[in-house]
């Protein structure tokens, strides 16, 4: 089983639109590939808005723990406040915990002479298994303002991976989160290949370099495709030059195409909404390149969708 993760560094470059199109092409393209899908952007999970899956199971996700001070036992000595390095203890009688600042380390619990503080595990979100028309989808919702998004990403991916292994699926497609920090590292973990969706803007070039460095740091092979490629040709050329210099393969240049937004408004992958649109044609070519890079099939000829 191969694991493909779609990332970008910068948000809003079109990761989810591409992931949805890949899900469609895996299922109905010229070379069908059975794929399990995972939405690893647990902060803002959008893949389901395009795939309209049927929900099969929901499970609570327990994140970290939170310190709770028993107001009856607190004597107001302030040892907890001094022990806390996250400014999460608010002085007063009784002392109180700032639930948002609390890191769940329990340093205050160990220092409280009255044993007035306990740690309470928090339900930080939920993860779900759904059935979409293109295959099983594993996704999650982190409750707003929660920690541990990396752990939830890991959980979603593990469930997806087990389902792929159990069901003998040759491919797992992971729609990744923006950035380069904890949830991105979790999304990259164990991937066979990362597709970096770069946007030809000053900001896009900058962030593409950061995510490519991150993939290299964790020794995950990466390929680049440019989205909205004709928006600013100079930046597109910069991306090309950067890839050439680093020996990275540029696997496609998807043109700016209103059809992508229209497809999203209609809740469909763009390749299903209009396979003949300029963006769809290029995404189909990118997909064929992905299959070749993952060695899932012998290198296929790029051909039209039927």
């Amino acid at each position: 089983m191969k694991q493909l993760v779609i990332l970008s560094g910068k948000g809003g470059t079109g990761k989810t639109s591409l992931a949805a199109a890949f899900a469609h092409l895996a299922h109905e393209g010229s070379i069908p590939v059975r794929a399990v899908l995972a939405d690893a952007d647990v902060d803002a999970a959008n893949l389901e808005l395009v795939l309209h899956p049927e929900l099969m199971e929901t499970h609570d996700f327990t994140g970290g723990s939170l310190a709770v001070i028993d107001p009856q036992l607190c004597q107001g000595c302030g040892d907890c406040e001094r022990a806390c390095r996250f400014d999460a203890i608010l002085p007063g009688l009784p002392y109180q915990v700032d639930a948002i600042a609390c890191e769940g380390c329990a340093a205050c619990v160990y220092q409280c002479p009255e044993e007035a503080i306990r740690m309470e595990p928090q339900t930080a979100g939920q993860w779900r298994r759904s059935e979409s028309r293109y295959g099983p989808l594993f996704h999650a919702d982190l409750k707003p303002a929660q920690e541990n998004s990396g752990k939830l990403v890991t959980l979603v991916k593990q469930q997806a991976r087990l389902a792929a292994l159990d069901g003998d699926y040759p491919l797992l497609i992971v729609d990744g989160p923006p950035g380069i920090g904890c949830p991105v590292i979790s999304a990259l973990s164990g991937a066979d290949l990362a597709l970096i969706v770069a946007e030809p803007t000053a900001a896009g070039v900058h962030d593409m370099q950061r995510i490519l460095e991150t993939a290299a740091h964790f020794r995950i092979p990466a390929l680049v495709c440019v989205n909205k490629a004709d928006l600013y040709p100079e930046a597109a050329r910069q991306i090309e030059a950067f890839c050439r210099e680093r020996g990275l393969e540029l696997v496609g240049s998807i043109p700016f195409d209103e059809t992508v937004t229209l497809a999203m408004m209609n809740g469909e992958p763009v390749t299903a909404f209009n396979p003949e649109s300029p963006a769809s044609r290029e995404i189909i070519a990118v997909w064929q390149n992905m299959l070749a890079a993952l060695a899932i099939q012998p290198i296929p000829k790029v051909k039209e969708m039927t």
Binding site: T62, G63, G64, S65, G104, N148, G150, K151, T154, Q158, L165, C182, I185, S186, L188, S189, G190, F218, R219, I220
Partner: protein, 120 residues
């Protein structure tokens, strides 16, 4: 000798679980008697550092080897420090099969982490 395996259920016929830190059960097998004791994996619900906890468990059991599907960098470093050898399941399906192949010297030993890390 003692070997620790990550599995999905108790018993020597248990199906393997490729996840070392987050597999449901850790099976401690005495290869002389083939007795298999099942323990809940301490890492399974950890909010981070699952591999470290599973490694600590294996070291505490005085295991000489562990068999699993994957070893992240933290579990790898921990097991290496504890002097516990690491082996990969390959295409083994059950714990018994993995032990037999281990004894026959047919399992691949791990010299470097097989995965990049997880983070909480």
């Amino acid at each position: 000798m003692k070997i620790v395996l990550s599995v999905t259920a108790p018993g020597i016929e248990a199906p393997i679980d490729p996840r070392f830190g987050r597999g449901a059960t850790l099976l401690v097998v005495d290869t002389d008697t083939m007795q298999a004791d099942a323990h809940p994996n301490p890492g399974v619900n950890a909010s981070g550092g699952a591999g470290v906890q599973a490694a600590q468990f294996a070291a505490g059991q005085k295991a000489e080897a562990v068999i699993s599907g994957d070893f992240g960098p933290n579990a790898f470093d921990a097991l290496k420090a504890a002097g516990v050898a690491m082996y990969l399941y390959g295409d083994c399906q059950t714990a018994r099969q993995a032990i037999e192949r281990f004894q026959a010297g047919q399992l691949q030993q791990v010299g470097a982490p097989t995965q990049s890390g997880h983070h909480g």
